[in-house]
Amino acid sequence: MSKPTKKPVLVIGGGMSGITAAVEIAETGRDVVLVEKDSYLGGNVVRMNNYFPKLCPPACGLEINFRRIRQSSRIKVFTQTEVKSLEGSRGDYRVRLHQAPQYVSDLCTACGKCAEVCPEEGPGEFNLGLDKEKAIGLPHAMAFPHKFSIHQKSCRFEDCGECAKVCTYQAIDLKAEAKDIPIEVESVVVATGWKNYDASLLEGLHYAENPDVVTNVEFERLMAPSGPGEGRLLRPSDKQEPKEIVFVQCAGSRDENHLPYCSAVCCSASLKHALTVQEKYPDTHIRIFYIDLRVMGRNEDFLERVSRNPKIELIKGKLAQIRADRETGKLEVEAEDIMACRKVRYEADLVVLATGIVPQLPDIDLSTGFSGFINAKQSSGIYPAACCKRPMDVSASVKDATAAALKAIQLT
């Protein structure tokens, strides 16, 4: 076992990959600093309704990891924190962390009194603006660390101060200030993950103008038990259950004007969505427009199940236009059905854009390559992992994070 005097390993990003790297490193007896910019861990996975390969809810994989973090004395977690600078070399990195003001301290017990008196409301951050939430509250039901946080955009801070008055534990400090934290680490795992492509850039699909045109990430929230419909799939405009759903594959992917690459997971994700909807709402009619259906490995099985389902139509042809009827607001989608060699138009209650994976980068100097993804090879001591390196699914990300963890502890 390593000597405890060794400097810790820094893990940037507290999503599935960052958590995996952190616990794997800690369990070898090394200290870890885990830095996350949101107020909770879990990244994109925690927002999902269910995920591959067994279609379990995110709680499945995350709960056990949160327990591993809780049980380890070697992992120091900084939430609402970003890496501001990184200097040095292998074995000796000096890092400056920037932590946003901690208005709610660790004394918070998530009792909820503050939220009861909070008069302000803003768009729900966790549900991607699909619902509303109080300016103070638990980010989501299984938030870890399990404490409340304040939304800077909707809170009036000292102009209001109701929450601080009712807090029994003096956990709320509305005058809190941001601080810089200097640390020294031996090596760095970069697991900053991904965000989905900005769908409002897709001309012709009119995502920004139509509430019922949503992204695949938003659709996960619409389906989720903790989402705006509390488990009922309701379309955003009028909160009705959609009867006709259209999935648009390669929305901005494999497109030189947008993302030139294939994100590898969106086809499987849409098949998963279609099957999940069908299971819950057997009367719903689903159409999936695709260029090619690229399902990897054992996900081929999903394609077979989808092809057998008479309520799910697979149409070869990229959906290039969505129009909204000015009066009724009804959506009409248009594509060329290539197998039939005909332009087809269908009405839809809800359109889901399968947008691709865009790398998220930390604010430090890293060598990047193809389409802004981080190169696998960095100056020694820095190890990128998972989706900031290339698009991949959750299980591949976990494996890749473990690999990066192994590299990070093999120094000296």
Binding site: E203, G204, C250, R254, D255, E256, N257, H258, I291, D292, G317, K318, L319, A320, Q321, E334, A335, E336, I338, C341, R342, K343
Partner: protein, 363 residues
């Protein structure tokens, strides 16, 4: 069993003409959807793009759809792979001239800039020979009178003859084109004959309906309308001028209604061609301009401008008037004799293709 007959040579020629990376097309169909002219049934240009990638010449040459395209460039703008379908269809239209026009060596000569000097020699030689035959191959004395240089009888008969030969060759090449179009429309029948159908279909051309429904810009429609009517008006005035020369006094006075019409037509042409040239040089380029586009624009512009200049030269008794006149004649002959072999041929092919599509009920 599907039988396909790929022609690699054809594909190579198409890549060379269009400068498009044909094999990058992934058949997503975005182009067909964004095209406002593509019909719902068997829309273009997605199907053309796979034929192009495979080099299926027989599907692409006798194809009315490539002529229904008015090259607004939407498909190229939205193409996710940068394959430029608009340029591919434009290249296919150029290759059609080479494929159908007879003798095809002339079309080949007109397709490359390196043969331009040779192409210019022919009209010069033809005019020189006619002048030599007329015995007027020298600069006349006295005030400017073009008929002293090129006697009316010689001019009108040679012009008419060359125009008739040129149009005759064009019609001949169209016969094969129509025969091939029947492959796309096996049940094609023209109500009251093909000429009547053309007359019916020319209504859409007269008001530029299809140009108008290309959503990208109205500018192109107006530029083309000006050139279209300017040129046809000039043709009409020329016919009248020949008639006038045969029956009564020529040249026409400056205030003769036909003279005014001719000057108006020249004005329309210059403005229209100017708009087209400016549009091709500046601004957002959704389609690439190639040699055949520039050849048509510049030869028409030179023809029009030199026509206006020799008019001034005549009224102003310029010393260089006859040289300018010779230059103008070369321009006219150049446009007329190469008409079936250059982009000018689009006037015929498009009319025929639109007529056939109308007759077949393709909308």
């Amino acid at each position: 069993m599907l039988e396909i007959n790929p022609d690699i040579q054809f594909k190579k020629e198409l890549i060379k003409t269009s400068q498009a990376p044909l094999s990058k097309c992934m058949q997503c169909g975005t182009c067909s959807v964004v095209c406002s002219l593509a019909p719902d049934d068997k829309p273009f240009p997605r199907k053309e793009m796979i034929w192009a990638a495979w080099g299926i010449r027989d599907q692409l040459m006798g194809n009315a759809d490539i002529w229904l395209c008015h090259q607004c460039g939407d498909c190229s703008t939205y193409c996710p792979r940068g394959v430029k379908p608009a340029d591919v269809l434009s290249a296919l239209r150029q290759m059609s001239y080479r494929y159908y026009a007879r003798p095809s060596c002339i079309a080949r000569m007109m397709s490359e800039v390196k043969w331009l000097p040779l192409a210019l020699i022919f009209p010069v030689v033809i005019i020189a020979v006619i002048l030599a035959l007329a015995g007027t191959l020298k600069i006349p004395d006295g005030s400017v009178n073009y008929s002293k240089f090129f006697p009316h009888a010689w001019l009108n008969s040679s012009f008419t003859l060359i125009t008739l030969i040129s149009y005759g060759l064009a019609v001949y090449s169209l016969k094969n084109f129509i025969k091939d179009l029947r492959r796309q429309f096996p049940d094609l029948k023209f109500k009251g004959g093909i000429l009547l159908q053309m007359l019916r279909s020319s209504r859409t051309i007269a008001i530029h309906t299809k140009f108008g429904s290309c959503s990208v810009n109205r500018f192109r429609k107006w530029a083309h309308l000006l050139v279209f009517y300017g040129f046809n008006l000039l043709l009409l005035v020329t016919v009248y001028a020949i008639y006038a020369a045969l029956t009564h006094r020529y040249p026409l006075g400056f205030f003769n209604p036909f003279k005014i019409l001719g000057n108006l037509a020249a004005f329309m042409l210059v403005i229209g061609l100017g708009m087209m040239i400016v549009k091709r040089l500046v601004g957002r380029k959704t389609v690439n301009s190639n040699y055949s586009d520039w050849l048509l624009l510049i030869s028409l512009l030179l023809l029009t401008l030199s026509g206006v200049v020799i008019e001034w030269a005549r009224f102003g008794n310029w010393g260089s008037a006859y040289h300018l006149y010779f230059f103008h004649l070369v321009c006219v002959w150049f446009v007329i004799i190469y008409l079936p072999y250059t982009k000018f041929g689009h006037t015929f092919y498009r009319l025929v293709a639109i007529s056939v599509a109308d007759a077949a009920g393709r909308k």
